[in-house]
């Protein structure tokens, strides 16, 4: 069991997604059950008939001149996300408090700025990248971590975690470990992923993209809607705020793109988070599920939740609001869970009409209010890579 006084404090958090820029907009969209999904207008890949969770204003989020070398759509979304909820100022205060070299950056992404690489291939000049995209640092996964290191002027450990759709859940666990081992006293964690051809056509090739807006846990669901998001949280040893009480990481050891048929990896991750926190399943008030709206994921996750939790735990997927934001899903949905923990609004599952018979009593379609003490977030990725996080008030 984790000693609660050593569990990191989540001092502040923010998310920018199709459901809006920052926490207030996100809460408003959740309360009004207003989806951010729209018909695919993501040129040049708008020929794919589907709905997407696109963030407005990314194209206009120009980077400061000093950061111009990092310019690309993914880093613009990262920059846009930093402007919300006073995150930039909060990082500056944290750096002053513990020292720039004692703040780690642990950031998650699935595809980082591969959109810029795709654009370069579409505009090759004599077989070479065009001059404006001939910038090595944006064509590699650490484009994101490197950009944030420059933008935030932090000098501690800086790493990009890329385990597909569990990336920005795992960043919480890695940052907590770095702090516990003494390699940092605080951390900026989070995740950013932007829409790109690779994921639109990649998921399409797997037959996992729905033409209509996604319907998580609906008996008639037929695939996911892709989205994009940026989110951050600041972890410290001390201070006010909820704590990251537990986390569980596991591998399915089953298949690259299909979950373990009995949900063993998912169960190990959830149980691991509970065990580390010393919290019983019955004490969990809300779980923000992975709930991608693919037939397999939802069936297996629903079964795993029904097996582990009692009827008093509420659970939902919020991907009907935002789409599946892949490497940013962990942070975005942790932010939603943290908002439920501190504000009491527990979102239901948008677009689910008739629940899959695999769902237990935990699965809720309608929004509700309750005083939460413990909330969980599930994130499962390709490669059978799973992570569950448990946040709580102490």
């Amino acid at each position: 069991m984790l000693n609660k006084t050593h569990a990191p404090v989540v001092r502040t958090w923010t998310a920018t997604s199709a459901a809006g820029h920052g926490r207030q907009a996100l809460n408003d969209a959740l309360a009004a059950r207003r989806s951010g999904l729209r018909r695919n207008d993501f040129a040049p890949f708008d020929g794919l008939p589907c709905h997407i969770g696109r963030v407005d204003g990314v194209e206009d989020a120009h980077l400061p001149a000093a950061l111009a070398d990092w310019d690309c759509r993914n880093n613009r979304l990262a920059w846009l996300g930093l402007q919300a909820d006073g995150l930039l100022e909060a990082v500056a205060r944290l750096a002053a408090e513990v020292g720039r070299d004692r703040v780690a950056i642990v950031i998650g992404t699935s595809t980082s700025s591969i959109g810029a690489t795709e654009e370069a291939y579409a505009r090759l000049e004599d077989g070479r990248f065009p001059a404006d995209l001939d910038r090595p640092r944006i064509h590699t996964p650490h484009s994101l971590g490197g950009f944030l290191q420059a933008a935030l002027d932090l000098h501690g450990p800086c790493v990009t975690v890329a385990t597909a759709c569990s990336s920005s859940a795992k960043v919480f666990a890695q940052a907590a470990r770095l702090m516990a081992a003494g390699f940092a006293d605080a951390a900026v964690v989070g995740g950013i992923d932007t829409l790109c051809g690779s994921v639109l056509y990649g998921f399409n090739s797997l037959g996992l993209v729905s033409e209509a807006p996604c319907r998580p846990f609906d008996a008639g669901r037929n695939g996911l809607s892709l989205g994009e998001a940026a989110g951050y949280a600041l972890l410290t040893r001390d201070g006010d705020g909820p704590r990251l009480l537990g986390w569980g990481e596991s591998s399915d050891a089953h298949h690259m793109s299909s979950p373990h048929p009995e949900g063993l990896g998912a169960r190990l991750a959830m149980q691991g988070a509970l065990d580390r926190a010393g919290v019983d399943a019955s004490q969990v008030d809300y779980i923000n599920l992975h709930g991608t709206a693919t037939p397999k994921n939802d069936e297996i996750e629903a079964g795993a939740v029904a097996a582990l939790f009692g009827p008093d735990t509420w659970a939902s997927s919020t991907k009907g609001w935002t789409g599946h934001t892949l490497g940013a899903a962990g942070i975005l949905e942790s932010v939603i869970a943290l908002e439920a923990l501190t504000g009491g609004l527990v979102p239901g599952t948008l677009n689910a009409q008739t629940l899959d018979p695999a769902c237990g009593p935990q699965l809720r379609t309608g929004n509700g209010r309750r005083d939460c003490r413990h909330v969980m977030n599930n994130s499962f990725g390709f490669g059978g890579n799973n992570c569950s996080l448990l946040f709580g008030l102490t």
Binding site: I114, A164, A181, S198, G383
Partner: protein, 261 residues
């Protein structure tokens, strides 16, 4: 601050030097094996998967298996950290070309092999390992960040931990921005102090990385995982050694290798 680990097992494979012993021979007297396959064929994968696996997957699984054997560790039980600067560049090149020409031709296999944690996924599937696995990247600091994460896991009592560091060749137009040549991978099974292995102390701090001047480092300087080579050279030697690995702008991770146990 310094964190002390112990090396329990080592794996190595580079183009032309297919194993720890081959690397040792080369370092000692410049000897190279007469024949070396273009890439390793790890027996962890079924024959058909072995043929289709991307280079980085074949490479990472090969060195990971070597390190586990060397440590006498059960691969099914080790948490793992997969550290690669670029991941599978040939698939990034494929995705770029295909999306520009005919996006509908992106294949399911290419897509799921494009994730940065592809090697971690195949490793856990092949080894039947349900322990946590992660995949990370940090430019030239990729190895240093991998060591920090592995050390943090060991410090948290999760060890022994498998750390795999690897990069493969770049190709196509991508090669002009993400340069990397040949195959280079190393794997380390790391345990806590007192595990009966060779001492490995790590300490992050400010500074400049040690210039990589050894024969192995010069031979594979063009591979993006070249920062691992001075560490491999130190571990192939008998004597204590200290080196500073690149750990980001103005930062190093100082690694002190003890005498061979």
């Amino acid at each position: 601050m310094t964190t002390t680990l112990e090396l329990l097992g080592l794996g190595y494979w580079s183009s032309g030097l297919p194993g720890v012993d081959a690397a040792g021979d080369f370092l000692r007297d410049g000897r190279e094996p007469e024949a070396c396959p273009r890439r390793p064929a790890p027996d962890l994968l079924a024959a058909n998967e072995r043929r289709r696996a991307p280079d980085t997957v074949a490479l990472a699984l090969e060195v990971a298996m070597q390190a586990c054997r060397d440590a006498g560790a059960d691969p099914a039980r080790l948490p793992s950290v997969f550290a690669s600067t670029h991941g599978e560049l040939s698939i990034t090149d494929f995705m770029g070309r295909t999306l520009a020409e005919s996006p509908g031709d992106v294949s399911p296999t290419k897509f799921h092999n494009s994730v940065h944690n592809a090697a971690a996924g195949y490793w856990t599937i092949g080894a039947g390992c349900m322990a946590p696995a992660t995949a990370l990247s940090a430019f030239e600091a990729t190895l240093a960040e991998g060591l920090l994460e592995a050390a943090a896991q060991v410090a948290a009592g999760e060890g022994p931990v498998l750390l795999v560091a690897y990069d493969a060749a770049s190709t196509g137009p991508l090669a002009s921005v993400s340069a990397s040549e040949g195959l280079l991978g190393a794997a380390f099974v790391l345990g806590a102090a007192g595990s009966g292995g060779r001492a490995l102390a790590i300490a992050p701090g400010a500074g400049e990385a040690t210039p990589a001047t050894g024969a192995l480092a010069r031979r594979h300087a063009g591979n993006a995982m070249a920062p691992v080579l001075p560490l491999v050279e130190a571990l192939l030697g008998e004597e204590p050694a200290t080196l500073a690995l690149p750990a980001g702008p103005g930062r190093v991770l100082t690694v002190s290798v003890g005498a061979r146990a």
